[in-house]
């Protein structure tokens, strides 16, 4: 061994675990980001996440979180690497190596590690995404729309992230060599991080700020839009979450520095508490990042059980097995054809009912948007003819539901679901109009009826129905069909066949996005020359273009205005319909939790490195292995437990708040409660995983400090 580079190579072989950890982190982060980007940018995914739509925004937001998570954990892993390497660098410099000499070797080494691991991550990211996707298709669900096609442009983002990783490693490496004071470098691994005294009120005030910030952040947009009639610029509402962030920081600071036990366990926890206090600043920052990532990961993880449980309950509580409606000008299968098809599939149809509906214009408040110096504001303007709704006659409603409804002339009742939710539906109308003849009927809205399968419809008495229907053409008339089947669970093939029949018999005129409204359309055409929900404009405005060829796609099933509601079809195809969302959110959770584990591990190893002398001294003072183990466990536990508790509690409380306020009236519905319970199961599973990683890390830390059982 005669050359400096040979010394470096020897040290590398000797410290291969440190190199493996750093390379592994870089590789893992680039791999995850590449796989995520490949998936996110794949035309397959983009097709189901419309441009400008909420779901795409949500996926982008979580992707940003994942990038931050990966960036943070690679930075921490690099920091730990250079910290561990600092002693070696210090010895070289102390013995007369020039900085250029050390830097040269370090750069060569970093070049190999960073380029190698990033290239491997980027190269394998695509195949990983593909393999995961195929496994998902094989094990869970496979549909035509799930054929994964990659967009080569996805690699641009992957390369950008790799460039960040490489630049960050070189920057940190260069900085570690650049330290002017060799003494600092030699002693860096023993450097403590002092912290200012933290008053005890930080804890309770932090909790208050956290709750306040969460509430303000969530409610601010409601306040701006509903009370001030002002659409705030994007990002403004995020400012209202700032107190929550400050509160969280204060809570973590209080937990690390003061603890919540007061002076009860002062002597029992003395070493752990004191050591944490002196490494407080960095530890609290780590904990904050971990808390946010855990919250983000749970946000992704909760989506699936919440949606799944809610949907399953909704399917189960539907009062009718098969429900569909169609425009009167469409040649859609009716009783005769349905019964024939049922016979073909050996299905027994019961309670078949098909009743006419009218599409009538209703009055209401329109929100007129105006551009001004403050941005976009809106004002409410009453319109006698605002939009259309579907009306049933009282006898028709009774034929469908078996429920007799007594209505006098001029009285109407909206239909809400059995949980009484009025979300997206304002049943109080005072004027109903035949849009073609101009015939108007002032009405009184009575207490809404409750029937899940007819949510959003209105009921009026038979005489009003006949009078207002006079003169309406077929485009303004619809048929509502409801029926049950025997052994519903075994009628999937029939359901699928009937669904295909309905789609096959629907013409292009009714290939409309849910919410398409002929009255609103006329108003838009008159005022702006184009209607955003017309087929030709949907893509431009970020709405799904309904395509009968894509009838099994999630977009079609969620967005087609005449999508039938067949209990068995919806239940069996749920996973298929939501597959794209499920896999994306699962992926996000994996990325975020991986970041959390790496940060926690690196932080705990840093603590071990920093405390080595303290533990040697304690051993000299006669501390047993059991005592040392208990003491280091106190610190490692805090690094894991505090962010896990804070992140989990935070996001769960936030979710409960969203569930509580998102309904109308506010409250938790049974399906939401079931979803929240399902999420508790997720929390339990993830907590078990966190505990496993905590035990592994504790074992590593004990090994690093030579603490035996």
């Amino acid at each position: 061994m005669r050359h400096f580079s040979e010394v470096y190579a020897l040290m590398r072989r000797r410290n291969k675990k440190q190199y493996a950890l750093l390379s592994g982190c870089c590789f893992f982060s680039v791999l995850l980001i590449t796989a995520y980007v490949c998936m996110m940018r794949a035309p397959t995914i983009l097709n189901v996440l419309p441009e400008g739509g909420d779901s795409r925004k949500q996926v982008m937001m979580i992707f940003t979180l994942a990038v931050i998570g990966c960036a943070v954990f690679t930075t921490y892993a690099s920091g730990l690497f250079f910290r561990q390497k600092s002693r070696e660098t210090g010895v070289f410099l102390a013995l007369g190596a020039t900085r250029a000499q050390v830097r040269g070797e370090l750069y060569r080494e970093l070049g190999v590690i960073s380029l190698g691991s990033c290239a491997a991550g980027a190269l394998l990211g695509g195949p990983l995404a593909w393999v995961l996707w195929q496994v998902f298709r094989l094990c869970v669900v496979d549909t035509e729309e799930m054929r994964l096609v990659f967009d080569p442009n996805a690699y641009v983002l992957s390369l950008a992230f790799s460039a960040f990783v490489i630049a960050m490693m070189f920057f940190l490496g260069s900085r570690s060599v650049k330290r002017t004071n060799i003494i600092d470098i030699v002693q860096e691994s023993h450097k403590s991080e002092p912290i200012r005294d933290v008053p005890r009120w930080y804890g309770p005030v932090g909790i208050g700020l956290l709750a306040l910030g969460g509430f303000l952040g969530y409610m601010s947009s409601v306040f701006f839009i509903s009370i001030l009639h002002w659409y705030p610029p994007e990002g403004l509402t995020a400012v209202f979450y700032v107190p929550a962030l400050i509160g969280l920081y204060m809570i973590l600071l209080h937990t690390v520095v003061n603890g919540w036990n007061g002076k009860k366990k002062l002597y029992k926890d003395l070493i752990a508490t004191s050591q944490m206090r002196f490494q407080g600043r960095q530890t609290v920052r780590n904990m904050l990042v971990m808390t946010l990532l855990i919250a983000g990961a749970y946000f992704g993880s909760f989506y699936t059980p919440m949606l799944g449980t809610g949907s399953m309950i909704e399917y189960d509580t539907r009062p009718v097995d098969y429900v569909y409606n169609f425009r009167a000008d469409q040649d859609i299968p009716l009783e005769e054809e349905v019964l024939a098809l049922a016979e073909e599939y050996g299905v027994t149809v019961t309670d078949f009912a098909a009743v006419p509906m009218l599409r009538l214009a209703v009055d209401g408040e329109d929100h007129i948007e105006e551009e001004g110096p403050m941005g976009t504001t809106w004002r409410a303007e009453y319109k006698e003819v605002l939009s259309t709704e579907l009306f049933l006659s009282a006898s028709g409603y009774e034929a469908l539901t078996g429920e007799h409804v007594d209505l006098a002339g001029g009285e109407i009742r909206g239909v809400v679901d059995t949980e009484g939710s009025k979300l997206g539906f304002a049943p109080d109308k005072s004027l109903v109009t035949n849009y073609l003849t101009g015939e108007q009927l002032p009405v009184t809205s009575l207490e809404p009826l409750r029937y899940d399968s007819l949510f959003g419809r209105y009921v009026m008495n038979d005489a009003d129905f006949a009078a207002l229907g006079a003169g309406l053409t077929e485009e303004w008339r619809e048929t509502q069909v409801c029926f049950n089947v025997e052994n519903c669970e075994e009628t999937y093939d029939f359901a699928k066949a009937l669904f295909n029949e309905i789609v096959d018999h629907s013409t292009i005129e009714v290939a409309q996005f849910d919410g398409w409204d002929p009255v609103v359309r006329d108003q838009y055409l008159a005022e702006e020359g184009a209607y955003f929900l017309d087929r030709e404009n949907c893509a431009e405005y970020g709405f799904t273009v309904i395509d009968y060829a894509q009838r099994d796609s999630s977009a079609f099933r969620m967005d087609w205005q005449y999508m039938p509601a067949f209990r068995i079809l919806d239940r069996m195809d749920f996973v298929k319909t939501m597959a794209v969302f499920l896999i994306l959110f699962v992926f996000v959770a994996v990325v975020c939790f991986a970041a959390v584990f790496v940060i926690a591990y690196t932080r705990c190893m840093t603590i071990a490195l920093t405390n080595r002398k303290v533990y040697d001294d304690l051993r000299h003072l006669g501390a047993s292995n059991a005592y040392l183990r208990r003491s280091i466990r106190g610190q490692v536990k805090r690094v894991f437990l505090v962010p896990a508790l804070a992140g989990t509690g935070l996001i769960y409380a936030f979710y409960v708040m969203i569930m509580y306020f998102n309904g109308s009236p506010a409250g938790i519905t049974p399906s939401e409660a079931a979803g929240l319970l399902a999420n508790l199961a997720v929390v339990a599973a993830v907590s078990a995983l966190i505990y496993g990683v905590y035990r592994l890390t504790l074992a590593q830390v004990c090994r690093a400090l030579d603490i035996r059982r």
Binding site: L10, E88, A94, I182, V186
Partner: protein
């Protein structure tokens, strides 16, 4: 003179408070001399050594190695001085765990880029001189504290330095290992004509030196010459001086 320190001042800033550690230290070390610096904690011993090693910059004053004014040197030239003209023995040894004893000894030569067969022979010779030939292929984790320190001394000598700087070289050692280290310094002085500048608080170790400089509160308080005095007597003189300092 091998080493000349003149009016050296150094202070540390901790928060808003400035602590003056060296308040105008002056001393000289001649070629082949074995000099110790003693003093109570906080007297500035290690700071003086770190300034001479150029690990930390002095606020004012001058340090000359031979005729070279160290403060005027650039970073690369300083590195060369550290590598070629100075040898270091640290309190914590600072051996690299991933290198064997022999590789650790060779390290300064490797850094200097001058490893020849001669250098390797010298490393082996140093192992023989300091009684560590039997462990030369072992790693630091496998040897005792005394052996580590002797390895560190051998490493300090590999490049024929003009001056060896030792920071509490016996601080972490038992009496047997302390004797072994002091013996290795004496061997270095006699067999290799090394000049040694050692910081210590151990009067036993200092009693082997030709001269002992006692620092107090950042200034040279007293200089004791050993001359022809017996080692034990010289150690008593050192202890008396320490006691006297404590009384003042």
């Amino acid at each position: 003179m091998m080493l000349t320190v003149e009016n050296l001042c150094k202070s540390y800033q901790v928060g808003k408070t400035s602590y003056e550690v060296l308040k105008g230290v002056s001393l000289q070390v001649g070629k082949g001399e074995f000099v110790a610096v003693m003093g109570p904690s906080g007297s500035g011993k290690t700071t003086l050594l770190n300034c001479i090693s150029c690990y930390i910059p002095a606020d004012s004053g001058s340090i000359r190695l031979g005729k070279t004014e160290l403060a005027r040197l650039g970073e690369d030239a300083l590195a060369e001085v550290r590598n070629k003209q100075l040898g270091f023995v640290f309190q914590d040894f600072l051996l690299l765990d991933g290198l064997t004893v022999r590789q650790n000894i060779l390290l300064p030569a490797i850094i200097g880029g001058v490893v020849s067969g001669m250098t390797e022979q010298r490393a082996d010779q140093l192992c023989e001189v300091f009684g560590i030939a039997g462990i030369r292929d072992k790693y630091p984790a496998e040897i005792s504290g005394g052996e580590k320190q002797r390895t560190a001394v051998a490493r300090a000598l590999i490049n024929h330095p003009l001056l060896i700087l030792a920071d509490e070289p016996t601080g972490n050692l038992d009496s047997k290992s302390t004797r072994a280290v002091i013996r290795s310094f004496e061997q270095a002085k006699q067999a290799l004509e090394a000049t040694i500048f050692m910081v210590t608080h151990d009067s036993y170790a200092a009693s082997f030196c030709d001269r002992v400089v006692i620092l107090r509160d950042g200034v040279v308080w007293k200089v004791l010459e050993k001359g022809a005095t017996e080692r034990e007597t010289f150690q008593d003189q050192l202890l008396d001086a320490v006691r006297e300092m404590g009384r003042e």
